[in-house]
């Protein structure tokens, strides 16, 4: 009991640390990237939220910001980048193109990046205003604090499953010995 409470608080502390030091990997492809530049710029200054520094290597990042239209041709590229990011990781889909394909519904555009990778926060808008993006960032921070991100839950689930397996094995072995 006491141990659980401590670990719980420790995990919360880790999540708290994580949410204020998000390292972004901007997968910037299209017009939304212009708005992303503004977001980085002096007026909207995303640095206030601790997510200012773009890391251009997926290995060093933990937040994938998909900025702009993703085409069918880019889908495998996006998947590959997502796979390279270390866990836990979060995905924000910036703009309607990334979220649903937007007003490009044709042979070449992907109807939303969730056909390829799981997404944590969707930002509507074509392009979204920087205020909207900051709002989404705060929402993501809440999500991280609640241990509610997709990959966070996945890790949790795997841990639980492994524990259960271990227990089962243990239980069955005692049965046979008895």
């Amino acid at each position: 009991m006491g141990l659980e409470a401590t670990t719980g608080r420790l995990a919360d502390a880790v999540a708290w640390a994580r949410k204020y030091s998000l390292f972004t990997y901007p997968f910037a492809t299209a017009c939304c990237a212009m708005e992303y530049m503004s977001l980085m710029g002096p007026r909207y200054d995303v640095a206030r939220y601790g997510a200012e520094f773009p890391r251009f290597s997926p290995r060093q990042a933990d937040m994938l910001l998909v900025v702009g239209t993703i085409t069918e041709r880019q889908a495998p590229v996006l998947k590959r980048i997502y796979d390279q990011i270390c866990e836990p990781k979060w995905v924000v889909s910036f703009g309607v193109c990334a979220s649903s394909g937007g007003f490009y519904q044709n042979y070449t555009t992907l109807p939303g990046i969730d056909h390829v990778i799981p997404v944590d926060v969707y930002i509507p808008g074509c392009p979204p205003r920087p205020e909207q993006v900051l709002d989404a960032l705060v929402m993501l921070q809440d999500k991280i604090q609640r241990h509610d991100g997709y990959s966070q839950r996945m890790i949790e689930l795997e841990k639980r499953e492994a524990q259960m397996k271990k227990k089962k094995k243990h239980g069955s072995s005692t049965e046979t010995s008895a």
Binding site: E72, R73, A75, P76, K79, S100, Q105, N106, Y107, T108, P111, G112, D114, H115, V116, I117, P118, V119, D120, D148, Y150, R153, M154, E156, L157
Partner: protein, 188 residues
């Protein structure tokens, strides 16, 4: 655009010119498909014409209008020295969609011709590198042809079914939409 240049082209090619028009002041000549290379060379190198730049090269599909021949390849020529322009077109039938390349006359034609091949499926004879340019190699068909459906996708990658099933069953991914919205159901 330039009336004088059009007149000279007509005079030079005679029977090779199928029709001409000057709709909205754009002088245009439709010429015989087999003459395009020699005509372009002549237009570039003749004094008084000097079309040293190929502004644009593209194709049009007249399938919905039922016109014969089905395709047209359109060349927009521009002379930087004399400040004049001319549009040259060649008709291309569907059964034998081949045109001679002009990419050694103007280097820019290299990529433009690749684009026309990619989107319309018109081949250019003697082109050094006839690959797709905008679409991927795995793509089947030519998307800008009028008979290619606008939203027929050819996915390169989709999430595996078990991930989507998991999400639908309320397991970890249930917080996000796994690509099963009503729109996607309608599509498939």
């Amino acid at each position: 655009m330039s009336k004088a240049a059009l007149d000279r082209l007509v005079e030079h090619l005679r029977d090779g010119v199928i029709s001409t028009h000057a709709h909205r002041g754009d002088e245009t000549a439709v010429i015989d498909r087999s003459l395009i290379r020699s005509a372009c060379l002549w237009l570039r190198d003749t004094e008084g014409l000097e079309f040293n730049m190929l502004s644009d090269l593209t194709a049009v599909d007249y399938y919905t209008m039922g016109r014969e021949p089905r395709f047209e390849v359109v060349y927009h020529l521009h002379s930087l020295t004399l400040k004049q322009r001319l549009r040259v077109k060649v008709g291309v039938p569907e059964e034998d969609p081949v045109v001679d390349t002009v990419c050694d006359i103007w280097q820019v034609a290299n990529w433009c011709e690749r684009e026309v091949w990619d989107l319309y499926g018109i081949r250019f004879k003697d082109h050094p590198d006839m690959r797709r340019i905008l679409m991927y190699e795995e793509f089947d068909g030519h998307p800008l042809r009028k008979d290619y459906p606008k939203d027929k996708r050819q996915p390169l990658y989709r999430r595996p079914q078990h991930e989507i099933d998991e999400a639908l069953a309320g397991r970890p991914g249930s917080g996000h939409r796994p690509g099963f919205g009503p729109r996607n159901l309608l599509e498939s």
